[in-house]
Assembly symmetry: C2
Homo-oligomer: 239 residues x 2
Amino acid sequence: MEGFTLDTTRGSPAPWLQIRAIALRRIQAGLWRPGDQIPNEQDLAIACRCNRSTVSRALRDLADAGFLERRRRGGTRVATNPARKAPLDVPILEDAIRKSGARYGYRLLKSGLRRCEQAAAALDTPPDRPLMLVRALHLADDAPHQLETRWINPESAPGITEADLSARGVDLWLLQHAPLTRAVIRIGSENVAAPEANMIGAEAGAALLIVDRKSWGSVGPISWVRLLHRPGFVLETAI
Amino acid sequence: MEGFTLDTTRGSPAPWLQIRAIALRRIQAGLWRPGDQIPNEQDLAIACRCNRSTVSRALRDLADAGFLERRRRGGTRVATNPARKAPLDVPILEDAIRKSGARYGYRLLKSGLRRCEQAAAALDTPPDRPLMLVRALHLADDAPHQLETRWINPESAPGITEADLSARGVDLWLLQHAPLTRAVIRIGSENVAAPEANMIGAEAGAALLIVDRKSWGSVGPISWVRLLHRPGFVLETAI
DNA sequence: AAGTGGTCTAGACCACGTC
DNA sequence: ACGTGGTCTAGACCACTTT
């Protein structure tokens, strides 16, 4: 481990970012190979002429990102399975559509209380208690983009039954009135049946991407939503 | 902001984790509402009887997770769009299958050099240069689970043409010999045609989940892979 | 101009897991 | 037992951006 001087001129990246970059470069150049143990924090700090905390910050960040694996006493090693986690962006739909340059549109199709055993089971509420059903269509440049079918537990979202959902999506209302604590997201694919297919502008039997999300708040299950996307839609992410 | 004493008994979570938990609880209980500015680090440190660095660590972590938004001089606010990023796990398939309790199997269907304009375009190589094509089937309890079609740039993965791929997946070989630096992942859905459908054990036209991944290493594009999943397969993640 | 978060240092103690 | 990372403190300076 030869010495290494950091750039301390004004406007240069923070030292810990520079150290992070150096380490990442060594990994990616194959200088530190997967499974290898790298020098310890103390030695790196001496080599970089900085404090151990600064090195620690850099290495912790790389470990969080999946590039390194760290163990007390065992030292720091290059991960054998680097970057196995990809951040899946779940942006506000409206923003995503606008960002792509298209005009966003929203159409409320249906809303009201009704009983549904399947939804009650998903939301862990008694099967005989009515739930709020909201069905809406999100449009990009007037073309159907996403069909939203949502069941809401009124107990976790008091006021939802009186809310005006005709202009803005339910998600925005929930965001402000019933912040979520935890969510489980499932991404799958289905041959969609005729009624739904028509709504989203697809032919019956078309393969559509389905995102299914169940969310909980501080007082319990909030909502269960099924998002059916237009044909050809793909989720994209990078690492 | 009333005082708050941290638990310092042995075996209790680290102070910054306790502070993180306290803050998260206040957000989720609605005590700090989306958009609200929360007390500054100094005040919180006094209230918790700890150093500002400790508070900073906790709040930074919550900001990284998307619960808070922080600005110099502007203070720290509860995010109006909480938890918009979900970590999408991209585990080693073999591990994932084993973990689910099933027996993992692998069958190499085809491997060799060949020209393909589409793949060359994807990998950004000259269209007349041959690429390595690998097609393999991953099995769970002897049932088809994932059909892998992969194009590899031999220049970025020297030795791949001579590697023995009959027993272990290409991904493991690449992992050790050509670690990836960057990747773009696309998740979509397709009505799969008969030949592919047969291989994965589906009927023609079935809706299957497709994961498409392009990866780069230190010297350039490494591989482009298309993963076709068995009917009913869903990707799952939680926040 | 001033308040806020972002970071660095120097030193210390501790938890963990390997040796 | 002991080396390693994990964390905390106290103090300081700086960068940003709002007032």
